[in-house]
Structure formats: structure tokens, C-alpha cells
């Protein structure tokens, strides 16, 4: 984070000259627009911003941002971004990944970036399908999914990306979707403000290979009934008149209830700052399928030691304790003798 005065920018300053090459109608366009529009609001400079991606449709993203960027290797973006951020904690580093890139081939790097709490903003575009390779099931595809590689239906149990992130000790976990630019921008803004690894799952529609996958929850007509907006410090309510809510039962589990049946004071108040991840985990698993009410927003947002700062602090501490490195001292450090 630069403390210098940052010049005012506009969306144009963040837009590269490259032609955007996603399929017409792809959810990625909406996400790109949301990010390009948001960046001027964040008070950061394009030259101090780096977008690192892996491989997949979403991973073309850096080419369209007028920042520093690397379109790297399938699955490896969190590792490469860890290198960028560790070397240069002064930079704003974003990771653009997908469900295949981040949770299949790169699952290991993702969980370790989250565990270390590297100061990265990780946007995982979840379309539950392999798009770039033309339509195979992904690690977030539902059991039974019929694709080119699963003509009789997928037999793999899927990951819940938020459960993975929470299980990996992520300090910031959120979910948004590609049809609501304002919600995306609020979520990305919170992710950016968070010091540490921020994980945002974006429900993203692939209109070619997996169209309307998320429509059950995100289409306008069903949003009131199906989308639960999480707001820190507020009771978790939804429905066109906030008539429904989430309650923690005496069995410890979360239940969707009618407010009128239990009373407003029995409704769970969302606490994204709760040190214990179990409620966030329960919320992440509230929706058993795409036709049940689904929470969106920030599930977890806690403060804990950020990796790149800790690494830099040790470099500083070593310099303070030992003075700046001196080669002659180093070479003589294992004991020497003199031959005349």
C-alpha cells in the first residue's frame, strides 16, 4: 500500500488496448467491467497493481487490465502471486482463477496461499464447468452432471469452494455473482481492504457449456426468495419482506425459519469477525443445492498475521540485529586460518 498521493484515475486508465475475447454473453464480461469500474475508487495506481492468473477462460483477465500482469500456468497463480507479493509487499496483487484452475490442478497452491494469509485478492470464477477445453465437468460440478467426459453423469463429489477456503483457515471469505455489479464491487472492495488473503467465489455463468447453472438463485425473479444477503452485525433475513431468516437451533445447526414463527430475536446476527469459523462454515453449507436459499456477501473477515509483512519484518529484524549484510564477514563466518 503506497502512502503517497495517488493520482485520480478513471476506468479508461485501467483498461488495456487488447480486444476482449470471451464468448458473447459470458459472465466474465460483467466481472471485468465491475473490476475496471471499481479500481479508480480504491485509490491505488495501475503501476502498483498486478493481476496474476492461471489458465482457463477467466485467466485471460489480466490481458484486459492496464496494470502489470501475468497470465501464468494452469493452477499456479497463487504460488506465483505469492512470489510477487513476498518480494514486493508494496504492490496490490490480485489472483484471477476458476473452479478448475483454483480447485483442481491448483488446489494445493490455493489452500496454502490462504493458510499463509498472503496479501492477495483471490477472485475465483466458479462456472462449474471446464469452458476453455470445451465442456468437461469440474471439481465444483454436481454429481450426475452429463458432460463430454461424463456421458453417463459425473460420479465425483464436488467441492464447496467456500468450505475449502474456510477449511484452509482463510481470513476473508466471500461470495458474489456475475449478475449484480454493485454487489460484486462492494465485495471486491472489502476483499481489497482486507490485509491478508481474501477469497471471493463468484458465481459465473458459462452460457455456452453450462448455461443458467446458478439461475435458481441469481435470476431476478427468484432473488428475493433465494438470495440471503449477509450484512455484518445484522440479523440474517431474506424474502421480499424479510419475513424469513436463519436461526441457530438448539441442535447447533442452522435452520431457515419464518420470522413470525420464532421472533426476530431468535434470528442469527451475522458476525463476519467471529474468530471461530464454524458459523461461517455452516452458512457456506446452508444451501444444499441451487434451488434453496443461498447466502451471498462476506462470510468471514478476521485479522491475523499477514505473511508478506511477517517475512519483511524478519528481514528488517535481521538487519537491525546483525547490521546490513557484509560479504567479507559472511565468508569468514565459519572460521578461517591464514597461510603466509
Amino acid at each position: 500500500m503506497s502512502t503517497e498521493q495517488v493520482a485520480v484515475t478513471t476506468k479508461k486508465d485501467w483498461t488495456s488496448s487488447q480486444e476482449v475475447r470471451w464468448c458473447p454473453g459470458c459472465g466474465d464480461y460483467g466481472i471485468l467491467l465491475a473490476v475496471q469500474q471499481l479500481m479508480p475508487e480504491l485509490g491505488v495506481a495501475p503501476e502498483n497493481t498486478v493481476f496474476v492468473s492461471g489458465i482457463g477462460c477467466s485467466s485471460r483477465f489480466p490481458y484486459y487490465m492496464n496494470t502489470y500482469g501475468m497470465h501464468s500456468i494452469h493452477g499456479r497463480a497463487p504460488a506465483i502471486a505469492t512470489g510477487v507479493a513476498t518480494a514486493r509487499p508494496d504492490l496490490d496483487v490480485w489472483v484471477i482463477t476458476g473452479d478448475g484452475d483454483g480447485l483442481s490442478i491448483g488446489g494445493n497452491h490455493l489452500i496454502h496461499a490462504l493458510r499463509r494469509n498472503v496479501n492477495l485478492n483471490i477472485l475465483l470464477f466458479n462456472n462449474r464447468i471446464y469452458g476453455l477445453t470445451k465442456g468437461q465437468y469440474s471439481p465444483t460440478s454436481e454429481v450426475g452432471k452429463v458432460t463430454k467426459s461424463t456421458p453417463m453423469g459425473s460420479v465425483d463429489a464436488p467441492f464447496n469452494p467456500l468450505s475449502v477456503a474456510l477449511g484452509a483457515e482463510a481470513s476473508f471469505v466471500a461470495r458474489t455473482h456475475d449478475l449484480d455489479r454493485k454487489h460484486m464491487q462492494e465485495t471486491f472492495k472489502a476483499a481489497h481492504a482486507h490485509q491478508g488473503a481474501s477469497f471471493v467465489e463468484i458465481y459465473q455463468n458459462c452460457n455456452v457449456f453450462n448455461d443458467v447453472q446458478f439461475a435458481g438463485a441469481t435470476k431476478k425473479a427468484s432473488r428475493d426468495e433465494m438470495m440471503i444477503d449477509l450484512a455484518h452485525g445484522e440479523p440474517i433475513l431474506f424474502g421480499n419482506e424479510n419475513q424469513r431468516g436463519v436461526m441457530q437451533g438448539t441442535d447447533g445447526f442452522l435452520h431457515i425459519v419464518e420470522v413470525a414463527d420464532v421472533g426476530l430475536d431468535r434470528i442469527l446476527v451475522h458476525d463476519e469477525k467471529n474468530e471461530h469459523p464454524s458459523l461461517a462454515f455452516a452458512l457456506a453449507r446452508l444451501n444444499s443445492d441451487d434451488h434453496s436459499p443461498t447466502p451471498f456477501g462476506v462470510f468471514r473477515n478476521i485479522e491475523r498475521a499477514e505473511y508478506t509483512k511477517s517475512v519483511s519484518d524478519q528481514v528488517l529484524a535481521a538487519s537491525e540485529a546483525n547490521g546490513p549484510g557484509d560479504l567479507n564477514t559472511l565468508l569468514a563466518s565459519n572460521g578461517t586460518w591464514t597461510v603466509n
Partner: protein
Amino acid sequence: MTDTIDRSNTADHDRVLDHLVVRFAGDSGDGMQLTGDRFTSVSASFGNDLSTLPDFPAEIRAPAGTVNGVSAFQVNIADHEITTPGDDPNVLVAMNAAALKADLHRLQPGGTLIINEDSFGERDLEKAGYVTEYGPNSEPINPLEDDSLNGYRVLRVPMTTLTKQVCEPLGIKPRDAERSKNFFALGLVSWMYTRPVEPTEEWIGKKFAKNKQVAAANKAAFRAGFNFGETTEAVGHRYEVRPATLPAGTYTSITGNTALSWGLVAAGQLAKLPITLGSYPITPASDILHELSKHKQFGIRTVQAEDEIAAVGVALGASFAGHLGITTTSGPGVALKSETISLAIAIELPMLIIDIQRGGPSTGLPTKTEASDLNLALYGRHGESPLPVIASYSPAHCFHAAIEAARIALKYRTPVILLSDGYLANGSEPWKLPDVGSLPDISVPFTTEPNHVTADGTEDFWPYLRDPETLARPWAIPGTPGLMHRVGGLEKADGTGNIDYTPENHEHMTELRAAKVAAVAADIPPTEVSGDLDADVLVLGWGSTWAAIDAAVQRRRRAGVKVAKAHITHLSPLPPDLGDLLRRYERVILPELNRGQLAHHLRGTYLIDITSVSKVQGLPFKSREIEDAIDTAVTNLSDDQRGATS
């Protein structure tokens, strides 16, 4: 018996040795590495030249008392310059029956055997495999009681018993006292070969400062061993290996991994760049991660990554951000890093990949040496993806090789593979410290200004606009206003760096990437030939075979055989003078700790026949093996080849 100098005219020749090879062998838990290390340090500070060969199993603690669990440390100390740890030990210290079983065959005929006779009970003999036959009727055979040790000078010493006895008055339990028996052995050998006592006693005090009882036991055992030599007639008289006349200067004893680590630290300083190391623990490379992690005051960041792939990813990300990105590993790790190395080639960023080779394939021989990753380094990537490859040849040379690898990586914006191996990594030698001021400046400037003007007169930045001489692309790092750009694995247009799939561009870029690496050849010093320049036979080498080749060539030349040698450190691109040099000789022999990988590469490159001398036993060459190869080559020369070399 390498590099022996004839000293028969020395007045007290029966007491002065020109060199001595001692091998300490015992169980993995017996502290043999520590003992050997201590003997080495004392000899180094005494002024001997020396070379060491630690030889230990992959298991941290293999079943005690078995041959599989034997850990050994061989050291050659001399009063003249030497390069190898010696072919055959003159002295074998066997702390138990298994060590004798494992290593007796290495001892030179007539050599001295120092045996801890307390570890030759029936159970010890059985575990060591000293039995008549397998099955229910097997019976232990005691090698101390049959004729098998005739032909050696045998010193049987009840080391465990004597160590326990000397520790008893200190109130140390026999079980604890037993652990100090390696210091008894060290004391005895120190007496026999006239090593100074004080440095070791001082060192024990410091090393075990936290546990006074252990320090006291070790000191007592060490002193007891020393006194045993002095007072027991059986040991006979003492021998001496006088200091070597090494060039004047300040010396330290250094292992290859330490030298390589310090070379990397120096490279960062000489490049005026902070270092980020991404590494995943792997034998025999982990010590570099440990060493660099100790020197953060040089601006070094070390990331112990989640896996080998992440480790190289961290290094590449750091290079993109303007650090010297480094990853350290061994062969299996290089295989995993292969895809990221190809990305580094495509996005043309400097990066160092350090491969401390070990026996393969797969887990292979993790603690043993081999040089079988050359093909992997030269060819082991998808696509047309050449990169420079450097190989270090001695423990101390690892320091300079690291700087050279960094120099090339930075100047040409390319990943560079630096090959070392397990023998260099753990072996040590005295190193005359370089004058830090004489080390090269390897810094390169970052690009900070636009480098191109468009048709309408506006300035912009082309990330693939190359330096016409080196063909390196500009290195503009995040934080630089106005030079924002994207790199990635997709093929780039020459100049603009925009994605470009056109057929001509891909071919052009492929050729440019190859030409850039080939251009490094102009930057390589001439290949040095030594020995008899007009010989018919040339011994060519690379990597850690240097020591054995050097000793072998010296010995054959002293025996009147004409032979030349050359050793290359740049394996890709090859030195530009190498082809002509090889053609000057009737026979080129090339010893390698692999199945002839460089020989194969050179045959293909120069269409010259090369006689490959191969060894893959997890051990370095003995110089005798190379001497034999030289003799064979000379003998097989036809009459018209003989003396035909101009």
C-alpha cells in the same frame, strides 16, 4: 592412494606421511559425520590440504547394527595440493561389525584397521550379516577371530567399555556414556596422526554448551582415546601429515552447499538486487534453504513452499517483481518445475534453478551422488525451450558458479540451471577466500522509460523490444509508472508482446529465443587445456569428476604417459572453442557419473566420437578408474594415430 608424491628421501620417512586417507564408519547413530567433520576441521586449521566424502544412508536411523545403517565419512589430508577424498582409505575406523562388513573392502591392502571390539558380540555379528549361512542353522562368524583380517594392521580397542569407565567418575550413566565413544575414536586417531587437541576440546565445550554433562562425557572420551594411544604400546608410534604449502591467503573449510549459498548471497549483492528463494525441502539441496534462511540481513526472503512447483512459482513471481528469483532442488524437483521453467523461458525473465543432483530415477539414491540430470537440464522441457546450463566442479567452485549463473540469467533475462551434486554438496575442501572487491559487477538496469514511439508520436512501452546485442528484452518491474504490461505463456508478438498466433511470428520467436541463449557462447571464457597439450588423448570432464580427473592425469603424467585434460563449466551453450579443441585429439575420453549423457550430446553436436567412461554407483570416480581409462585409450591408439596430433 591418489596424487602421492614420492618422499622416500625424507629423513624420517617412516613417521611422516605425505597424505592420509581416514574413513570413519559406524552406525547412523554413532556420530560418524560429526567425528569426520571434526577431524577435517582440525586438519584444515593445521594447514593440510584436504578433501572429504560423507557417505551416509537415506534413512535417518536404519535398523541399528545393520549394514544398511552404516554411515561413513572419508577424509583425505595431505601436505600438498589434493583434489579427491582418496581412492582407498589408509585407515578404517570401524565402530561396529556392520561398519567392518560394509567398508573393509575399501581399505588399502596393509591398511590400518581400528576396531571397536565391544561391538562384535554374537548379536552384533548376526545383525551385520557375519553368519555362515541363512536359515535356522546359521551361526555367527567373528572376523576378529578368523584369518580374514590378516593383511591389515589391526588395532582392537574396547572403545565402549573404556568410554563408560572414563565417564563413570563423572556420574554419567553407562547408557549415556556409550554415546561418547565416537569421541574416543577421534581422540585415538588424533593421537596416532598428531592432530592438535585443544581446538577439539574447545569445540566440544561450545557445541555442547547447553548440556554440560554431554560436554564433559565427550571431552573425557576424547582425552581417553588420545591417552590410550599415548600409553598403549600396541598402537606404536605416531605419524604426521605436515601442513601443505598452499598459496598465501586466508582460508576457510567449505562444503559445496555452503559455497553455493554464499555464492547466491554474493550474486544478490553484486547484482544489487534482493533475493527471493522459493524452495521445498529435498535431499541433498535442503542445506541451501537452511543457509540462505540464516542471512536475511542481506535482503534475502526465503519461502518454504508447499511443493516444488510452488517453489519455482514463487521464484518466478519474485523475478517478475524485480528480485533475483531462485529455486533450489534436486532432480525430482526439477522434473516438477519443468512447466514453470518453460514459462520463464517464454516470458524471458531471469531466474536460477539449482539442481543438486542425486542418484535416480525416482527417489533413487537420495543421499548418494550422480550427475544424471544433465539431459533433464539440457532437454527436459516441453516445446523448443533452450536455456543456459552451468555446472560447478568443486565444493569451492560452487561459489563462483552461482555468481556466473546469476550473471547470465540477469544479462540475458533467462532462467539458468546450475548443476551441482551430492558429492560436491556435502564434500569439503579448504577455500582461499576471494577478494570481495574483485568479484564482478553483475547488475543490470531496470527499464524505467518508454522504449518506443507510435506512428502518432506517442511514447509507449514494448516489453519484447530486444537489446540488439544480447537479445534480452527490457525488464520493467511493477511500480514503474507508464510501463504497465502483461506477460504470459501464450506466444507473443516480437516487439509489442501482444498475443500473436501467426505461423511466421511463432517461428521467428522460437528462433529468437534460441538465438538469445546461443549468444551466451560469446560470453564464455576460452576452454583451458592443461597437462600435455600435444598428447593424443584428452580427458574431458564436467562437474564433480574434476577432482578424480585431475588426480588421475597428474599420476599418469608422472608415470610418463602423455595426456591432456580440459574441464567445462558451461554446458549450454557449449564453449565456442570446444569443437575445434576436441578435434585436435585422436581420442577424447569423457568420465561421467551417468550413462554418457554429455558424450552423447557432444557426439551429436560435433560429429566426433567420444569414449564415454561411465559410473553410476552413487559414488564419485576413483582416480584409479580414470587412470585405467587413460591407459586403455593410449594402448588402443593405432600406430598412425600415435603422435599424429599436431
